[in-house]
Each structure stands twice: as structure tokens, then as C-alpha cells.
């Protein structure tokens, strides 16, 4: 086998078959994938099923706390989990750039397999394509997942109303800062790791303890502020947050301070926002804190009736401000 991806790996011939066997099946292999059929086959479960897809184009491909392989599992698993579902199966499409080192590809596929195993999901179908050098960024991975929602669970943005509590599962901004710290032109020294993780185990504990959870969402791109504004616009409620209650690790706060970024606008890959009836918040917090991925869970605010559906925040300083969507990408400041 050559040590880099070349065009023959996408050509449909022997090279492609060997790559699939020696890299993909070697790590991701399971009974279904091993059958070699054109599609993954699975029994339909009783109840409602959910399906979601997510493309991953992250740069750099390897970052502290994860890589594009584990991220592509966590991203889709979390989309299913935010519906209260138990994730079951994934498919994965790989678009690889000519010249990409096979050793890196294998590392990514291995990490994907580890993440899938830990999340108890199987990759039952896959696809590989190769694009010419310069037409990709190493490797892009699209994963699609299906899961099943347990009976009695109804988690939807439609359940959000004024007077509910807003909860986050932990510190904000870790993933975004970890990625930035490794960007080629911005490298800085930090120990900050991405929080990339599969959240369905935490969600299962949460819905078991508090079936009345109104909605769940993972604050990925755009961070907490974008996700809360999205929920506020979709439901027509307003929100009032208490800045002092929002967990941010000291390292992330310091890095954001130096770089002119806001942890509330910065991406997370292993955190969730829950909105639940106020009288259930204490129970939910206790449940979340008992799970390894929810130890720093906190009530950060409440939904209110507000025709302008603004997200407002009482600052630790004693003033009030709005928490807005981010315009475009977060850009570093100069002064």
C-alpha cells in the first residue's frame, strides 16, 4: 500500500477495495459492514425514530481532546440525543484529498471507531471519494445517524414557554478555544482541551429523572448565545441570564480575554442546554451533576414573556446587556 491517498483510491478498482478493507473495515468493522451489501440493513424498532446528518470540515483535523473522526461520531450522536433518542446506527461518507497521508487517515478512522464503540453505535454503511489535491482540506466526513426515542419522551422546541429554567451541562467555549489554539496562524500555548463527547448517556439519565424536560440543544457553532437566540426566535419567548452562573473555565476565560473572544460565542461539542419546568430544575441539576459529563451543570437563567424575544443578561458587574447572535465569524481584535 502507498503511504498517501491518490486518485486510484477513489477509482473503484483494487486500490479502493484494499483501502476499504485495510483501513475502514479493519477499525469500523461489524457484522453489517462486513456483509458488503450496498446499504446497511437493520430491523425497525418500535416507537418513533429520528434521523440526522452532519458534515465535518474542521481544521485542524487533530486537536487537543479529539480529532475529526471522534467529532464526526459525537456531532451526529448528539443531534439524535438532543431529541431524547438512543442513537443506534451511523453511516459515514469520507471525501479525501489526494496526497493525504494514510497514517493520518487510519488514525482518524481508528478514533472514529473508538468513539462509536464508546457511544454504543455501529457504522453500518460508508462511502469514500477522492478529490484532486487542492480541492479538499485533507478529509471531510459526513455522518448520518438514526436513533429511537423511548416511549413518553417528547423533547421539542415547541414545548418552550415563559417561566421555565435554562440549564447548561458544563463550561462554555472549551472546544472553540482548543481549535483556535491549534490554527496554524494563531498558535498559542494552552492546556485547553476540546469537550468533544457523546451526550446521549447524560440525556438518558436526564429524561429518566425529569420526563418533563421541554427541550435540549447542543450549543455548537456560534456557542451559547447563538443557540439561545435561535430558541428565542423559534419560540417567541425572551430569556434572562445571570452571567455569574454561566460556567466558564479559568483557562478559557483567560484565552478569550487575550484574544478578544467571548466564551458565550465560542463553540462546544460536548455540552447541552436544557430547558425545563422551574420546579424540576433542582432534580435535573442533581441528576446531571451525578453524570461525568454534567458535573458542572448549572441553572443559568429563565425564559420570560417578551414580544421582542431578546436574550438579556445581568452582568456580574451589576448592569444588564443583551446577548446577541454573533455576526459572521468571531474575529480577533487588534488593540
Amino acid at each position: 500500500m502507498t503511504d498517501r491517498i491518490n486518485m486510484t483510491h477513489g477509482g473503484g478498482g483494487r486500490a479502493m477495495a484494499e483501502l476499504i478493507r485495510d483501513v475502514f473495515h479493519k477499525h469500523l468493522g461489524n457484522a453489517m459492514l462486513g456483509r458488503g451489501d450496498d446499504a446497511g440493513l437493520f430491523a425497525v424498532q418500535k416507537g418513533r425514530m429520528v434521523m440526522s446528518t452532519d458534515g465535518h470540515v474542521i481544521s485542524p483535523l487533530f486537536f487537543p481532546g479529539g480529532d475529526i473522526g471522534s467529532l464526526s461520531v459525537h456531532g451526529t450522536v448528539n443531534d439524535l440525543a438532543m431529541m431524547g433518542a438512543k442513537p443506534l446506527y451511523l453511516t459515514a461518507g469520507f471525501i479525501m484529498e489526494e496526497g493525504f497521508p494514510l497514517i493520518d487517515l487510519e488514525r482518524i478512522v481508528w478514533s472514529m471507531a473508538q468513539a462509536a464503540r464508546a457511544a454504543d453505535v455501529q457504522v453500518i454503511s460508508g462511502d469514500t471519494k477522492v478529490v484532486e489535491r487542492g480541492k479538499g482540506d485533507g478529509v471531510f466526513i459526513t455522518t448520518t445517524g438514526v436513533g429511537v426515542i423511548p416511549d413518553g419522551v417528547d423533547i421539542s422546541v415547541a414545548n418552550v414557554a415563559a417561566g421555565q429554567s435554562i440549564i447548561v451541562s458544563g463550561t462554555m467555549g472549551d472546544h472553540g478555544v482548543a481549535i483556535l489554539s491549534k490554527r496554524e496562524n494563531l498558535a498559542f500555548e494552552t492546556e485547553i482541551c476540546s469537550d468533544s463527547a457523546a451526550l446521549h448517556g447524560l440525556v438518558a439519565d436526564m429524561v429518566a429523572a425529569v420526563p418533563e424536560i421541554a427541550m435540549l440543544r447542543d450549543p455548537t457553532r456560534g456557542g451559547l448565545s447563538a443557540t439561545l437566540n435561535e430558541i428565542a426566535s423559534a419560540t417567541g419567548v425572551g430569556m434572562v441570564l445571570d452571567e455569574g452562573q454561566i460556567p466558564v473555565s479559568p483557562d478559557v476565560a483567560a484565552a478569550c480575554e487575550l484574544l478578544g473572544l467571548d466564551p458565550l460565542n465560542t463553540a462546544n461539542e460536548g455540552k447541552l442546554i436544557a430547558i425545563c419546568p422551574r420546579d424540576q430544575a433542582d432534580t435535573l441539576i442533581a441528576t446531571m451533576r451525578a453524570h461525568p459529563l454534567g458535573q458542572k451543570a448549572a441553572v443559568i437563567g429563565a425564559t420570560i414573556a417578551d414580544p421582542a424575544h431578546l436574550v438579556q443578561m445581568e452582568t456580574t458587574f451589576g448592569g444588564t446587556r443583551i446577548v446577541d447572535w454573533l455576526a459572521g465569524e468571531q474575529l480577533p481584535r487588534i488593540c
Binding site: N185, L186, P250, A253, A254, E257, L259, G260, A308, L310, Q312, T315, T316, F317, G318, G319, T320, R321, I322, D324, A327, G328, L331, P332, R333, I334, C335
Partner: protein, 378 residues
């Protein structure tokens, strides 16, 4: 966390707020210009205005380097990237600022120009080293805070013989701007705007010291308090300004003593003076041509001057019609007085630099302050 949370302490803020409330004279109004966009954003982000008595007003000054860069210079930078096929390195704030015809660096990049966002001049030097067959231009903007890194980059390029590296120099100076504002008809006794004192630049003063403001304080009889960028710094500086006004003093005081001295950083000043020199006049967005208000690269470093290496064309640069950035930058209008504010002009669809920059007054009003009724005009 040291040096962050201490300066955002709520109990201290409440204490300062009550002292300001006790000391202001209720029968008069106080108009303080915060020179820097960093102050404007601290005021809005932490809700400092909420803690002020109703007769203390903030007037937003021109201290946003991205905002005061005239459209013409941005158009020139875009031309360098597109026509001369250089790698243009820029600080992130510039990327989305609209030039003539609302063309921006980010749009030029999407159309194929090689524009790289950098955090420091050292990143730009690295790009030049890694691309010896390409011309690399560093788009240098900013007040005195960012001049020493530009000077260092030019000296390093010379020491290494980095022949493909040049700087497009747009550095501007704060003391000249303060004098220009106070000389303008806007702030004349019968003019539309009023200012009783200044929250002086913090990071700029770390470099140049507090003494360059003494002449203006004396000449115009306006107090200046060099103020840090944390919200408690701003509040303490307001208290110091209120006291000066009440006592009829017009001195330069330094609240930001943990960083700023009267003389500033002499090593940095010497470095800047070695590489850069005063321009006779430079165009500021909003303020127009201001004498002795900007820096250019000295002739002995001419080979690192992008303006000498590349001939940019004459062009008819134009602001977006109806954009009131110039009046906002002069402190005569609040962002909310502009009819474009929040209607066609938002951070997603900016018509002027003040809505783009992380230091722009319009961005501060939009991002943090929309819930409030507009403050009464200064």
C-alpha cells in the same frame, strides 16, 4: 482570576456608583468622551451606564482604529491584494469593513485574493518567510499601541533581508485627534456637542505615557484621566473626572497606574522613532485631514514600504450614502441617531466600519445595548 475578575467586582462597582452619585452636582450635566472603543465596549458590555447617575453622559470618541481609517486606504489595500497579487496580511477587525461599493477584504478573499488574517506582525513575517516567491504586505493599522510591533517587523525583515515583505502603514496618533476634536466647531461653546473631560486611552498610553495629553488638557482646560479598559477602571476614572470638573481642575491624571507611567515605554518609543516618522497630514474618517496625526515609514526603510513598492491607482472612494459613521466618530451623533442603524445596517450587513469593528460604537449599541431606550444625545 488575577487581573480579570478583580476589575469586574460587583460590590466595588456598587460602592463606586454610590460615590459618583454622591459627588455629582445635580444641577449640572457631565459629558465625558471615552476616547477608545475599548472603553465604549466595556461600558456597554458590563452595563456601566446603568450604574451612572442620569446626568453623567458618555460621548463616544474616535478611538477605533478600524473605524477612522478612511475608505480610500481600505480600497488601496483591496487593490494591492487583487491587482498586485500579493498576500495581504491583516488584523481580523478589518476583514468585514465595507469599502467603496461595499467591497470588503472578506469579499475580495472570496473572489480569490490571497488575504490572511493574522494576530501579530510576527505571523505576517512567517508568511513572508514561507512564501519567498510571493510579495507579502502587512496592512498596518492602529493607534500607538500597534506601532511598536510594526516597527519590530520592519527591523526584523531588514535584518533577515526578507525582500518580499512590505508594510502598508496606516498608523495614527491619539493626541493629535483630541486636539482636532476640541478645535472643531462641533465642540465650540455654541456647537452641537459638549465634552467636559476625557477618559484617556489606556493601551496607547502604556506606550506613549500620559504626558502627551498634558498640553491639550492645559490648552483647552479639559481634564483627562488615563483609564483602564475594565469596567471598574472606567467607573473609577469617571469619579476622578467628576472631582476634577467639580473642583475646576483640568489635569492629566492616571487611573491606569498598573500599566501606564507618565513617560511610557521609552524603549518602544525609541524603536518607533527609528523606523517611523510623522506624516504632515493624514485623512481620518469622520475628522477629515488632521495635521501631524499619522506615521509613515522612514526613507531609510523605504524598501519595506508598500506605498513605495506598489503604485496604487487614483480612485474615487466613497462611503455608503447616509452612513453617519463620520458624525458618530466625531462624537456629535449617537449610533441610534443614524437612520441606517438597525434598519439596513447591522453587524451582518454593515454599511460602515463602526458597525463592524469590535471597538465600534455602533457595534456596541447593537450587540449589547438595544434593549435600552437611546440615551439622550450628547
Amino acid at each position: 482570576m488575577r487581573y480579570i475578575s478583580e476589575f469586574r467586582d460587583r460590590a466595588l462597582a456598587e460602592n463606586l456608583a454610590s460615590r459618583i452619585a454622591q459627588e455629582v452636582q445635580p444641577e449640572r450635566a457631565y459629558y465625558f468622551m471615552e476616547f477608545c472603543g475599548g472603553h465604549t465596549h466595556a461600558i456597554f458590555r458590563y452595563g456601566v451606564q446603568d450604574l451612572m447617575p442620569p446626568n453623567v453622559h458618555f460621548v463616544h470618541g474616535p478611538g477605533c482604529p478600524v473605524c477612522v481609517l478612511p475608505v480610500r486606504r481600505l480600497d488601496d489595500a483591496i487593490e494591492l491584494a487583487e491587482k498586485y497579487n500579493v498576500i495581504l496580511c491583516t488584523y481580523g477587525d478589518m476583514m468585514r469593513v465595507p469599502g467603496t461599493g461595499r467591497r470588503s477584504l472578506i469579499k475580495a478573499k472570496a473572489d480569490g485574493a490571497d488575504i490572511r488574517m493574522v494576530y501579530s506582525t510576527l505571523d505576517a513575517l512567517n508568511i513572508a518567510r514561507a512564501n519567498p516567491d510571493k510579495e507579502v504586505v502587512f496592512f498596518a493599522i492602529g493607534f500607538e499601541t500597534t506601532t511598536p510591533p510594526t516597527a519590530v517587523a520592519i527591523k526584523m525583515a531588514q535584518a533577515e533581508g526578507l525582500a518580499n515583505f512590505t508594510v502598508f502603514c496606516n498608523h495614527v496618533l491619539t493626541p493629535a485627534a483630541i486636539g482636532h476634536i476640541l478645535d472643531s466647531p462641533d465642540f465650540a461653546p455654541d456647537g452641537p456637542a459638549q465634552v467636559d473631560g476625557f477618559l484617556g486611552p489606556s493601551h496607547v498610553s502604556a506606550v506613549i505615557g500620559s504626558h502627551p495629553y498634558e498640553a491639550a488638557a492645559e490648552k483647552y482646560q479639559k481634564p483627562v484621566v488615563i483609564a483602564g479598559f475594565e469596567p471598574l477602571d472606567v467607573m473609577q476614572s469617571v469619579l476622578m473626572l467628576v472631582r476634577q470638573v467639580n473642583q475646576g481642575r483640568a489635569e492629566v491624571e492616571n487611573q491606569y497606574t498598573r500599566v501606564v507611567t507618565r513617560q511610557g515605554n521609552r524603549k518602544a518609543q525609541a524603536l518607533v522613532a527609528e523606523v517611523l516618522e510623522l506624516r504632515d497630514s493624514f485623512e481620518w474618517r469622520g475628522l477629515g485631514a488632521v495635521q501631524n496625526s499619522a506615521l509613515q515609514i522612514r526613507n531609510i526603510f523605504a524598501e519595506y514600504d508598500a506605498e513605495k513598492r506598489f503604485a496604487v491607482s487614483e480612485k474615487q472612494s466613497r462611503e455608503v450614502k447616509s452612513c453617519e459613521c463620520p458624525s458618530v466618530l466625531r462624537g456629535v451623533m449617537k449610533p441610534t441617531d443614524c437612520k441606517l442603524f438597525g434598519t439596513v445596517c447591522t453587524p451582518d450587513n454593515p454599511m460602515g466600519a463602526c458597525m463592524v469593528s469590535s471597538e465600534g460604537a455602533c457595534a456596541a449599541y447593537w450587540s449589547y445595548g438595544r434593549k435600552r431606550a437611546p440615551q439622550d444625545a450628547a
